[in-house]
């Protein structure tokens, strides 16, 4: 196993390197660019565009831009004042040394921008994830053990709805119902806030929780539907198997048969699925964060894409790619850990 993990990690480095070339090329070669009108200006004045090109490093050929993005420019002479003559050593260290550059929009280090949003996304998405799991597993079990019961029919209906409803629509409906229509009977204020992380200046737990309800509910619904359906199918395949019939014939209580023998096997593919979804916890959800004004990674990525903020966009993409690759690795390892029949040599 250790050899396998080491080999996968080495492959990961190579894969990330290839991905870095691919992502850098795709982002930079896409039509348009960051110098096309900012904000109120449809165009940037040519004089300003020339300065920005130099300051952003866009005046260099693309392969040189890639090398600088990867390795920095503190080993080469650069033209800092735009007179065409290299006059000093650069200050960039490159992503290999943890320098993702500065945001074109804010001129702040990219990692600062990410650090400000990353905890917010983990905060929202991990709670969403836990609640989704906490509801999906019992629903999946009950649906499987009481197949075609009223509960199963209702759960199945909601599951299909949960999978079918787009988040941006559901989010807006949630706001319409719980913010615009329903009022707190005691205060007359909206039942729930429309968005944001808090409305109080200081930390108030009830305020934080009230701000979580709508985005968590919107985000969790899809996961609940997906995981509960998956677990139901998995259990329905396992429950009629001989080894469970044998366990029951030997007098083992149904609860033990179900939870110790059936569920542990049914959970194997679900755990793999959950591991593959882990990157969402770190990278956020664009629609939920946008509709509920949640200052997370998804919105940061979206804004960077809209603004053609290449350094920020590339940083989010590369970090996201690394999370996906690592999640795949975790899924593979977990699979072997949960299922003794699987062995990686």
């Amino acid at each position: 196993m250790a050899t396998y993990v080491t080999r996968r990690l080495i492959q990961t480095i190579g894969l990330l390197f290839l991905l870095s070339i691919l992502l850098f090329g795709m982002v930079n070669l896409a039509p348009g660019g960051p110098l096309a009108g900012q904000g109120q200006s449809r165009h940037i004045a040519p004089e300003k565009a020339a300065i920005l090109k130099r300051q952003f490093g866009l005046d260099k050929p693309l392969p040189v831009q890639y090398v600088i993005w990867l390795t920095g420019n503190d080993w080469m002479k650069v033209d800092t004042n735009g007179d065409g003559v290299p006059d000093g050593i650069g200050t960039r260290k490159g992503i290999l040394r943890g320098d993702f550059g500065f945001s074109f929009r804010t001129r702040q280090p990219v990692l600062n921008e990410i650090n400000l949003r990353f905890p917010n996304t983990i905060y929202l998405m991990s709670i969403t994830f836990i609640i989704a799991l906490a509801l999906a597993i019992p629903i999946g079990i009950l649906s499987a053990t009481r197949q075609y019961s009223i509960f199963d029919i209702i759960a199945t209906t909601f599951s299909f709805a949960g999978q079918a409803l787009p988040e941006f629509w559901l989010g807006l409906i949630m706001i319409l119902v719980f913010y615009a229509w329903l009022k707190n009977p005691f205060t007359g204020a909206p039942l729930l806030p429309s968005g944001g992380m808090s409305s109080a200046d200081s930390f108030v737990l009830s305020d934080r929780i009230s701000h979580l309800i709508l985005p968590v509910a919107t985000g969790a619904l899809g996961w609940i539907a997906w995981y509960s359906r998956f677990l139901r199918s998995s259990l329905l395949e396992i429950l009629p198997l001989d080894y469970l019939r044998t366990a029951r014939a030997k007098g083992l209580p149904q609860r033990l048969v179900l939870y110790r023998h059936a569920l542990s096997n049914a959970m194997i593919p679900l755990v793999t699925l959950i591991a593959l979804d882990l990157p969402y916890i770190f990278m956020g959800a664009v629609f939920i964060e946008t509709i509920f004004a949640w200052p997370g990674m998804g919105r940061l990525y979206y804004q960077a894409a809209i603004d053609r903020d290449y350094p920020l966009l590339l940083a989010v993409l590369i970090i996201g790619a690394a999370f996906i690759i690592l999640s795949n690795l975790i899924a593979d390892v977990l699979y072997a850990f949960l299922d003794p029949r699987v062995r990686y040599e």
Partner: protein
């Protein structure tokens, strides 16, 4: 085996850690010590104040402004999103401001320098000028230090730093800025600058504190651009990225008794529907820049008022390429259809701007047919072209564009553009998607209207960053890879000369050297444009009117109608006035909470 308790413990730790990190995520701004004003106020020309006094003293004088995205910084010069200008106006002053009617008023300046008061001295033989500014001596930074000429010179040096500086309109004409004394300085120009009054003011430029900002960090990236030291009506208390900014009253603000508002919260709410609902629910007091639909909806709410700028800025336009598609030299390779002025005139006659304005833009637009429609240069007598489909058809017939086989699309039969015989009148009409549904409907309607005169349009929608990118990035317009484009633009400030130059001058034809994407070249126009850079207002007006005549006859671009510039606000507030010359917070010190 999968250890559930351990995993749940891990996830719980993650949540608790993120909550702790979350609490640390905000930029907390250390409050600066307030100092007592020690100098007597100097009399100045007061800016327009639109608030009315009320006898009430509401207990809650806190307001909330909603905007869709974080301001990039407090320095509007850098990204110019408008949201940066909005927070800049709350905290920082420039030498001057521009009121909604286009009148420039002094902020840090004690008076406006003019030829008449000796503040401006021209050397007509050399074509240069010197402007001497006198500053108010009663304005202080929030830490009690006075705002002086040193701060202006510091700002100038930071902007023009070759390594870390940037470019602002008019800066190329400046040779240097000299200190005269603590409260006056001299700007030496190497040319006649007609926009000298807004060099260190207007919508975008503020004066920065020399003793507080770190020049080594550079004008574009310095920390004081995110944690500014105020000399404006409010000080920044906290900025939680992506969530909100909070401001409190600057107790050291020079205009005693102002601002009336105690605290301002700027909430970042990306979704327009949610911002609208927050206004209806009373959770927001200002919704900055509402589009036509939201404005029309909020107009019906009793708790919301709408402020529309008394003047307009952005105009919906049809940009027509007179060079062959994919080229940028209209003389060498003229456009097979649009290089004929008769065709351009016919298109102008066939588009019903009034219908589009009323039906799609909900009546918030006004028809525009000349670049010189804004005060103070709206004095030219240019007759509005008629909407006349039959006349448009006749003009095309005369120009050699006919439809002998009744296919619905005209062909060249004797046309004068060099197009081959039988060449069909088929073109592409491109617009950008960010404006939303109104522009897409306008594009469709224009296509239908031009189809009635035998011009077939293929409709395309792209992102603005693709349409307006530089030629190296494959920008559609800079590479000339279009027939007709539809989008809106207008100039900030009150001087149209630079804007006109960028769209119509010969120099601006060269790709990436301007936006004369029509590749239209007219010698008389260029001469008039050069002559218009004068401080003689009468001559300028005359030059502009002659230029307007040429543009009206040659039609290098078709101007259709203005687009809305509106802000919606709560009836709790009084004094809010939308303006195209600045952002809504331009007069926030004058706002009053009346409920």
């Amino acid at each position: 085996m999968f250890n559930k308790p351990r995993s749940l413990f891990f996830l719980t730790c993650v949540i608790i850690s993120s909550l702790v990190l979350n609490a640390c995520g905000a930029i907390k701004v250390t409050s600066t010590p307030a100092a007592t004003a020690t100098q007597a106020p100097v009399s100045t020309q007061a800016p327009v104040v639109v608030a009315t006094d009320t006898p009430f003293a509401p207990a809650n004088k806190n307001i909330t402004i909603v905007i869709p995205e974080d301001p990039p910084s407090f320095n509007a010069v850098i990204a110019y999103t408008g949201y940066d200008a909005m927070v800049m106006k709350m905290t920082l002053l420039g030498m001057t401001g521009i009121d909604p009617n286009g009148k420039i008023y002094p902020e840090l300046a004690a008076e406006l320098p003019t030829l008449e008061n000796g503040g401006v001295v021209q050397d007509e033989s050399a074509g240069t000028m010197t402007v001497t500014w006198k500053m108010r001596n009663d304005i202080q930074w929030a830490d009690g230090k006075p705002v002086t000429a040193d701060d202006v010179i510091f700002t100038y040096k930071a902007i023009t730093d070759p390594n870390t500086g940037t470019w602002i309109p008019g800066i190329d004409s400046v040779d240097g800025v000299e200190k005269v004394d603590d409260y006056s300085f001299k700007v030496n120009y190497n040319a006649i600058s007609t926009s000298y009054l807004t060099l260190f003011g207007g919508e975008q430029v503020a004066v920065w504190p020399a003793h507080y900002c770190d020049a080594t960090q550079g004008f574009s990236a310095w920390d004081c651009g995110r944690k500014p030291l105020s000399d404006g009506p409010f000080v920044l208390d906290e900025w939680v990225q992506g969530d909100h900014l909070t401001f409190s009253k600057n107790t050291n603000y020079y205009d005693k008794g102002k601002p009336d508002i105690d605290k301002v919260t700027v909430k970042i709410v990306p979704d327009a529907t949610v911002r609208k609902q927050m206004m209806i629910n009373g959770d927001a007091d200002i919704n900055m820049w509402t589009n036509e639909t939201v404005t029309a909806d909020l107009q019906k709410e009793s708790s919301v008022k709408v402020s529309i700028s008394p003047n307009d800025r952005f105009v919906m336009r049809l940009f027509m390429n007179t060079a062959a598609k994919g080229t940028t030299d209209a003389t060498a390779k003229p456009h097979p259809i649009l290089s004929d002025v008769n065709v351009r005139q016919a298109i102008r006659m066939a588009v019903d701007a009034d219908t589009i304005s009323q039906q799609i833009f909900l009546g918030f637009s006004k028809p525009v047919w000349t670049e010189f429609f804004r005060p103070p240069y709206n004095q030219c007598n240019i007759t509005r072209p008629k909407f006349d489909v039959e006349a448009a058809k006749a003009l095309l017939e005369q120009a050699g564009w006919t439809d002998p086989n009744n296919t619905g699309t005209r062909e060249c039969h004797g046309c004068k553009t060099g197009a081959p015989e039988g060449y069909k009148m088929e073109m592409q009409l491109i617009t950008y998607k960010e404006y939303g549904e109104p522009i897409l409907l306008t594009q469709q309607l224009i296509a239908e209207e031009l189809a009635k005169i035998g011009i077939k349009l293929d409709l395309t929608t792209v992102e603005g960053s693709v349409l307006w990118a530089d030629s190296k990035s494959g920008g559609i317009e800079q590479t000339g890879n279009f027939d007709i484009d539809l989008w809106d633009d207008g100039y900030s400030g009150t001087d149209p000369a630079d804007f006109i130059s960028q769209y119509y001058s010969k120099d601006a034809i060269t790709p990436d050297n301007g936006w004369n994407i029509a590749r239209w070249d007219n010698t008389d126009f260029n001469n008039l444009l050069t002559d218009s850079y004068t401080l003689d207002a009468t001559k300028r007006q005359s030059d502009f009117c002659q230029m307007a005549q040429i543009l009206d006859q040659q039609v290098p671009m078709i101007l259709l109608f203005t687009t809305i510039d509106a802000d919606t606000y709560s009836t709790r507030l009084d004094g809010v006035q939308s303006t195209v010359n600045d952002v809504v917070t331009w007069n926030i010190a004058d706002w009053k909470v009346v409920k």
